[in-house]
């Protein structure tokens, strides 16, 4: 967090507004429950007490898109599911991010066929891709930390 200077003994710390807002956004980024396949098992494991994503302010998975900031697409997206995914993404309030978890969501993975969307970035803008089939919970948390780094570098001019 870009705390720039401390003014003597007055107990005052100054920082830029965008740093403060980005810090707040990274510390309370509620993910949307979007488990589609086996990656969802690892997502649940990352949520459970062994890895405990609530350490990063991800207290609970929201089943409702209206209350979530981050969409974790965990699993393969079939062509039939694609419009649903897009609709849920459109229902999420700004600012919103998408994390594509696992091979299948990122690029189709092993399912290179007509039924599976070859990467969810065909439908929604993806911020971070996590490889692995399925990724370990650590890998998902690493992806979330990568996303946090991205959010911290967002500028006030990009918000508009």
């Amino acid at each position: 967090m870009g705390v720039t200077q401390k003014l003597g003994d007055m107990g005052v710390v100054t920082l830029r507004l965008e740093d403060a807002v980005n810090w707040a956004r990274t510390r309370a980024m509620w993910p949307m429950l979007f488990g589609l396949a086996c990656c969802a098992i690892e997502m649940m494991s990352a949520q459970a007490s062994n890895y405990d994503m609530s350490r990063f302010g991800m207290e609970l998975m929201r089943p409702s898109p209206r209350q979530s900031d981050l969409m974790i697409v965990a699993g393969r997206v079939s062509r039939k599911m694609a419009p649903v995914l897009r609709q849920l993404y459109d229902q999420m309030p700004e600012p919103k991010w998408v994390l594509s978890m696992g091979d299948c969501a990122s690029c189709g993975g092993i399912f290179n066929n007509y039924a599976i969307v070859q990467g969810v970035d065909e439908i929604v803008p993806v911020d971070v891709y996590v490889a692995g089939c399925p990724p370990r919970p650590e890998q998902l948390i690493h992806g979330i930390l990568t996303l946090h780094e991205r959010v911290k570098h967002e500028r006030i001019t990009d918000w508009a």
């Binding site: 092993i110 490889a131 690493h142």
Partner: protein, 164 residues
Amino acid sequence: MNLLRGFATTLKYLFEDKVTVQYPEEERPVRERFKGRHALKRYDNGLEKCIGCALCAAACPADAIWVEAAENTDEERYSPGERYAKTYEINMMRCIFCGYCEDACPTEAIVLEHEYRLTFSDRRDSIYTKEMLIDPPPPGVPGTPQQTEPGRYTRSIPEMKDPL
């Protein structure tokens, strides 16, 4: 009374060991046979084990591997035998880390190691090239290409003393 029993359970867990692994600071060691990111191995003399046969690409169920072979010469030798892998690319997003490439490799050149932190902001970053995958040569040994004496490295696959 049941209420107190419930609180007692909570209180008991308060004094037990914490189960949460504080991931970015502290890591849980992976299993011995865990399959993570690939590495291309070298012999002790610095030559690459990969001979560019593309059996790994043939075995790959997700078609994640792309191998392009080229001819070795004694002036510019990358691996023992006739050919070496000029291009070796693995798409980490396609790869499902099944280890079939490891099984298919006749020279044990490709090994799945324990690195699992594979996250990308751009999907083009997910393609790992040969330079990213290959291990550095052992200390004090030159890398590839090497100039070698003619007729020394004629076999692509090392002779095995005691084949199973």
